[in-house]
């Protein structure tokens, strides 16, 4: 007899041992990225052909810097979750799969942090 509720099982012990968290995080970042990516495309278009001073001035704006950091965090989180699913679906060797997922997560953290710190450096005028 199963004494745990359906909700309790889903929250704690799904097939990937993390319930629906991965799924929800993928959707949450997706919803965030709809306006963020449209804003980013508009910003890139506005900066086409801009010289260095103009580009730096753009990053100095607190709104632009904030939205850029948000975009970077949401993008790399969403990308890492998506690439993880791709690896889980197509890589059948357990060791290679785990190594691939670790590489994806490590690279996402590294590149995301690098981009975010570059944005903050520009924003604070370093």
């Amino acid at each position: 007899m199963e004494l745990r509720s359906t909700l309790g099982r889903v929250r704690g012990l799904g097939s990937a041992k993390d319930g629906a968290h991965h799924w929800w995080a993928q959707r949450t970042t997706a919803v965030a990225l709809v306006p963020l990516s449209l804003w980013f495309v508009a910003s890139v278009i506005a900066l086409v052909g801009a010289n260095h001073a103009t580009a730096v001035a753009w990053f100095r704006s607190p709104i632009n810097a904030t939205l850029m950091v948000l975009l970077i965090v949401a993008t790399f989180y969403h990308a890492a979750l998506g690439l993880q699913v791709v690896l889980e679906d197509y890589v059948h060797h357990e060791g290679q799969k785990v190594a691939g997922i670790l590489a994806v997560k490590g690279l996402a953290a590294l590149l995301g942090l690098l981009a975010a710190i570059a944005v903050l450096k520009l924003a604070f005028g370093g």
Partner: protein
């Protein structure tokens, strides 16, 4: 998992390609392409933060034919993944599963991708001539 001699379901290449299946795998392919494309985003931001010389190098690369090709592919992948992603969010909310609706939304995604790409590049080219 032990290999068995049980019959397998038909392989992917047996099925006739349909809009639904093509858009489904393209969503995944575009997502992977966009993940690789984040390298360009990182390069652009880091180059800007590194100073005028690095910025000029990045700008020259993006303006080369190879840079433009990457940017074109990136923009198509982004607009497609964005539009089809919204389609997926509607499915996640439980809407649009009827076969007719699935096809209509699929064609809408293709149309939105084309329109957004043309609009973005028209505006971008218009910005090209400024100082």
């Amino acid at each position: 998992m032990a290999q068995s001699e049980r019959p397998l379901s038909p392989h992917l290449q047996i099925y006739r390609p349909q809009l639904t299946s093509i858009l489904s795998i393209s969503h995944r392919a575009a997502g992977v392409a966009l993940a690789v494309g984040t390298l360009l985003l990182v390069y652009w931001v880091v180059a800007t933060a590194s100073g005028p010389a690095a910025y000029a190098t990045a700008q020259a690369f993006i303006r080369s034919w190879f840079g433009m090709l990457i940017l074109l592919g990136w923009s198509v992948a982004l607009f497609f993944h964005l539009a089809n992603g919204i389609r997926h969010l509607f499915w996640d909310a439980g809407h649009g599963f009827e076969l007719k609706t699935v096809y209509a939304s699929g064609y809408a995604v293709l149309a939105a991708t084309a329109v957004l790409t043309v609009v973005a590049w028209t505006l971008g080219c218009a910005m090209m001539g400024r100082p």
